[in-house]
């Protein structure tokens, strides 16, 4: 209700005659409507949470580093900034060479999985969708198993062969599902999900068969399958970024379009959305982001499923808020999960996939129970 300050103490004329207006007339109510503001404050909160998680993860560990010193060390890395070094050189190495590459990669992977998950959930209009729904995970897994069993160890361009194979496997699996589901007049999403499930099952079966029929040391594959950031290096983040930045930006740009697509496909067309092109763009971008994220970190579950749901519970279903906030929360969640993974049973590390599943699965069960209560 717009109230001019100088009318504040005055009695409205109709009330002076003993009339009370029960509710404001629609014309006045219409004037009080507001354009939904760009969610600056929420994004700010999300960024603060991510920075807080990074700081926490930077200072905690076998060698604790005071948070303020950790900030100083990071700032001293910015070219042109000169801070007198009053910390042991080993801290510098621990923070900059070991912890930070992990933190950054975990953040990037968390953001990629959460934004892709939110996109799939919106696109398929299915709250149970996650980034691995249409074959990324099993395709990547099969790729990793094949190179390991074939005994290929040649690294290319400074990267291990395993991430490369995982990336290629993921892209191939999604492409097969896509080509199978595609029809001349468009892409039926239900068929795509079914094709993805079938491709996943096939890749899983072939992978299991290969693992049983051969007996090299399978620990690298198992470690990869469980997911983790143990061997994270700066160049891993550098590899992931060229896929993540355009992919995530493309997904974020489609927030309003995804809102309209919640109506249904025909309605979205009637409201001016080029539905087929949008589906292709979003599925392609989300799958590439997921494939790049999975290549180095392995299969980390529940981030892409849970982060979007938390945002939905807190701030509603508008994808213009949902996509960026899910990305930020996913990043913070995975950074903290990785921190837990390396500190909780220190000096041994547990795979981060176990931590995310440990937090994510009960939460997901809780969501399902809420759904059941609603019906």
């Amino acid at each position: 209700m717009v109230r001019l300050p100088f009318t504040k103490g005055l009695t409205p004329p109709w009330e002076r005659f003993g009339l009370r207006r029960l509710s404001s007339p629609p014309e006045e109510a219409a004037k009080t409507l507001q354009v939904k503001a760009f969610p600056w404050r929420r994004l700010g909160i999300g960024l603060l949470v991510v920075v807080g998680a990074m700081l926490l993860a930077g200072s905690l560990g076998a060698t604790p580093i005071p948070p303020f010193t950790a900030v100083e060390i990071v700032v001293s890395k910015i070219p042109g900034v000169d801070i007198s070094q009053d910390w042991p050189a080993s801290w510098d190495t621990i923070l900059w060479k070991i912890r930070f590459p992990r933190i950054i990669l975990a953040g990037l992977v968390g953001a990629a999985l959460a934004v892709s998950g939110a996109t799939y959930q919106g696109l398929f209009r299915n709250p149970l969708a996650d980034p691995y729904l249409i074959g990324v995970a099993s395709g990547a897994g099969l790729g990793a198993i094949i190179v390991l069993i074939a005994g290929v160890t040649t690294a290319s361009a400074g990267f291990g062969i395993l991430p490369m194979a995982a990336f290629v496997g993921a892209v191939i699996a999604v492409s097969v599902a896509y080509l199978v589901a595609r029809r001349s007049d468009g892409l039926p999403l239900t068929t795509l999900i079914l094709a993805g499930v079938a491709v996943s099952a096939l890749c899983g079966a072939v992978g299991s068969l290969l693992m049983i029929r051969s007996d090299p040391d399978l620990r690298p594959v198992l470690t990869w399958l469980l997911g983790g950031f143990v061997s994270a290096q700066w160049r891993h983040s550098v590899f992931v970024l060229p896929y993540l930045i355009p992919g995530v930006l493309l997904l974020l740009a489609h927030g309003r379009v995804l809102n309209v697509m919640q109506l249904d496909e025909d309605r979205a067309r009637q409201l001016g959305v080029n539905v087929e092109r949008t589906k292709l763009l979003l599925i392609g971008a989300a799958s590439l982001c997921t494939a790049a994220a999975v290549a180095f970190s392995g299969l980390i579950g529940f981030v892409g499923l849970v982060a979007p749901h938390v945002v939905r519970l807190l701030w509603g279903g508008d994808h213009r808020t949902l996509l960026p906030m899910a990305g930020l929360l996913g990043a913070a969640f995975l950074i903290l999960a990785d921190l837990t993974a390396r500190t909780i049973l220190s000096p041994t590390e547990i795979p981060v996939g176990i931590v995310t599943a440990f937090c994510g699965a009960p939460f997901f069960l809780y969501l399902l129970m809420r759904r059941r209560a609603k019906v």
């Binding site: 109510a29 409507l33 354009v35 249904d264 279903g317």
Partner: protein
């Protein structure tokens, strides 16, 4: 304003539209009548660009809809589907604002003007007081008005309504059709509305088109179209048509087969 020229369309199991042509002028409400399966919904899906006809063309102000991009077409043609699915997690204002989608670029945020248009559409459809309610908790009639508000917010010159009265009670039917007529007169747009209730159609439409076998079987004023002969041919039922004692527009009353037999004796 809207010109449908010789549309032919078939699904896999048979032809639905067979050279259908019709026109709607500025400020005119044209009622589309015909039995189930006559092709009313298919026609609407073609005009909104969901389906593409195998032959024929649809022109708005002389421009073919099939040569336009999706968002340009959505600025010219708005539709209210029969059973609109409304998603969870969105308020009435959010959904009304979705009507502004074709006017906005990919990265553009809704502005002051978009809000004004949406607020006006909500005023017209009497949904302003629901603005901050979640769309899924509304009644069927309220939901239908929200969908109409979305269509009005598109500011299109052609408005299609598919069975707009099917879920509404008597008062709501009158209210929503009067509203459509007001909007049509005020904006001088063309309105196409498909209906099952012939009496209601005669009351609110300027012209009627009766579809049969994918073609316009009869076309003209309600008096010209709603004759017992036309109704029997199109629907296969006997009906009595008599003028409304107050307004003179035709009213249709079905006669059951036994009554028909009795009257013959």
């Amino acid at each position: 304003m809207l010109e449908v020229r010789g549309i032919e369309f078939g699904y896999r199991n048979g032809r639905v539209l067979n050279g259908l042509s019709l026109e709607a002028g500025a400020g005119e409400i044209v009622g589309i009548l015909g039995p189930n399966g006559a092709g009313k919904t298919t026609l609407f899906r073609i005009i909104t660009g969901v389906l593409r006809p195998s032959r024929g063309d649809v022109l708005v102000n002389g421009t073919s809809l099939f040569e336009m991009k999706m968002n340009r077409r959505a600025r010219m043609v708005a539709a209210v589907p029969q059973n609109a699915h409304l998603p969870t997690g969105f308020t009435v204002l959010d959904v009304a604002m979705m009507g502004r989608n074709p006017h906005l670029g990919l990265l553009q945020w809704e502005g002051r003007h978009d809000l004004e248009v949406a607020a006006e559409a909500m005023l017209q459809t009497d949904t302003t007081h629901l603005a901050h309610r979640s769309v899924t908790e509304l009644s069927g009639g309220e939901q239908q008005r929200v969908v109409l508000a979305t269509a009005l917010a598109q500011e299109a010159s052609v408005l299609l309504l598919d069975e707009p009265t099917s879920n509404l009670d008597l008062a709501q039917q009158a209210k929503s059709l009067s509203l459509v007529r007001e909007v049509c007169r005020a904006t001088q747009g063309a309105v196409l509305v498909s209906m099952h209730d012939l009496t209601l159609a005669a009351q609110y439409c300027d012209r009627l088109v009766l579809l049969k076998e994918g073609r316009a079987w009869a076309e003209g004023t309600p008096q010209e179209v709603l004759t017992p002969e036309n109704i029997e041919v199109a629907y296969g039922v006997r009906a009595a048509v008599f003028p409304n004692p107050i307004t003179g527009v035709p009213m249709v009353s079905l006669s059951s087969p036994t009554e028909v037999a009795a009257s013959r004796d």
